[in-house]
């Protein structure tokens, strides 16, 4: 799908916010796609990290806020150790999660979880999952 790019479509405030939260300069990304090829969740994300970096460069907040990728990311850091530009994409994913969580919008809602869903989970899964997916 073609993207219309103009000053009007670029949300520089959002761009700056994600850059500040992640501490990453995503303008350095030159679109090699190593991150996308390395992602173990490749079959389950709707948008590859390479495209996310491009959307960030363009400040396309609307598209970015609808993606499942940051919520399927398991913070495995494979993209980060392989990025030839030294960008910590894992941190960018965390920043994208936080732009939603910090508006008190949870991705998983603990109070809605059924006992049979969580009874089998070890503490390490609950603590890490709630840390990443609740505000």
């Amino acid at each position: 799908m073609a993207l219309v790019i103009s000053r009007r479509t670029s949300d520089t405030k959002f761009h700056d916010r994600v850059s500040e939260l992640s501490g990453q300069e995503f303008m350095k990304c030159f679109q090699c796609g190593t991150c996308s090829g390395s992602c173990p969740m490749g079959d389950h994300i709707d948008t590859f990290p390479r495209k996310i970096m491009a959307l960030l460069q363009l400040g396309r907040m609307e598209e970015l806020s609808e993606l499942n990728t940051p919520w399927v990311c398991a913070s495995c850091h494979t993209c980060m150790v392989r990025c030839p530009r030294g960008i910590d994409i894992t941190k960018v994913m965390e920043a994208l999660r936080l732009t939603r969580l910090r508006q008190n919008v949870n991705y998983v809602e603990p109070s809605n979880m059924q006992p049979e869903e969580i009874i089998d989970l070890p503490q390490i899964a609950l603590v890490s999952g709630f840390r990443k997916m609740t505000s």
């Binding site: 992640s22 998983v108 989970l121 603590v127």
Partner: protein
């Protein structure tokens, strides 16, 4: 040499098989250890936002406890705890402004500057005990049991806390060989099992874990050995779901590296707590007479 020991939450419940086997191995190897006083959950994951310092308080408090014990080295068994504590330690060592904010905030504790060294037990075995010395203590060599060592993520990434090369590690191979096992190398040994997506996207985590196990089995592995209770959940416990869902799924024995160590050191079967593993694990070891040699 005395070390402090940080267990972590899951090791006191679901992963008693990781803790009990490790503590028995500490004793057998002459490692003098003391569990931290009043340790708390490390937070399980390291906070990745630049402005989020409040989540550093939990791991830093544990590091302060270790410093107060006076042992320079803090040993961990769970690889997620290792990663979180080691990264918090790196931050306290190198990031002056953040360190000051955290120390000021935690004014009830002594200031901390990253004095403690956080070490995963696998690294400790290599660097402090040494493979040669470990080999000399092996009572029941693993008899060529074909073992696929699974590193997962948190022992290898990011680089500043990696216990070995992030893409081509050898440490786990050396460990298994020292114990007399045959190593099955498989490309998925450093691929993520889905981690906390067990909570958020359990179906995605199930599929990536199934692919990892299939890779190991297709190369002839008898068992998978790992270091993390969350990997153990995704790759071990959830095999029941895989067996229901995926055609051709096989029941794969999965065990902790410390259980393998305890067997090879000839320690009591009780410390291995195999009742917490898949039942196929004890069955495999019995069929190879690897539980016969251990002290009852």
């Amino acid at each position: 040499m005395k070390v402090s020991y940080y267990p972590g939450c899951t090791l006191k419940t679901r992963a008693k098989n990781l803790e009990d086997s490790a503590l028995a191995a500490f004793k057998a190897l002459g490692i003098e250890y003391q569990e931290l006083d009043r340790w708390n959950c490390c937070g399980a994951v390291f906070s990745l936002a630049d402005d989020d310092l409040i989540h550093m308080v939990a791991p830093v408090r544990d590091l302060v406890r270790a410093k107060q014990l006076g042992a320079g080295t803090m040993v961990t068994l769970c690889s997620m705890c290792y990663n979180t504590l080691a990264r918090a330690n790196e931050l306290m060592k190198h990031e002056e402004v953040k360190r000051k904010t955290i120390n000021d905030f935690m004014n009830e504790e002594p200031d901390y500057f990253g004095e403690v060294e956080v070490v995963h037990f696998l690294s400790y075995l290599k660097n402090q005990i040494g493979w040669g010395a470990l080999k000399s203590k092996v009572q029941s060599p693993l008899g060529g049991l074909k073992i696929a060592p699974y590193y997962g993520c948190t022992l290898l990434r990011p680089k500043d806390v990696a216990i070995d090369h992030p893409d081509s590690p050898t440490l786990f191979r050396e460990f298994v060989e020292t114990l007399g096992g045959e190593v099955i190398e498989f490309p998925s040994s450093t691929v993520c099992c889905g981690s906390y997506q067990a909570l958020g996207n359990p179906e995605a985590a199930l599929k990536v874990s199934f692919d990892i196990l299939s890779d190991a089995v297709s190369r002839g592995a008898d068992a998978l050995v790992l270091t993390c209770p969350l990997c153990d959940y995704n790759l071990g416990r959830r095999q029941d779901d895989m067996l229901r869902k995926y055609e051709g799924a096989k029941d794969v024995p999965v065990l902790y590296f410390t259980q393998l160590l305890a067997i090879a050191l000839g320690l009591s079967q009780e410390v291995c707590r195999f009742e917490l593993n898949r039942s196929s694990t004890a069955r495999l070891l019995k069929s190879r007479n690897l539980l016969a040699g251990v002290k009852a």
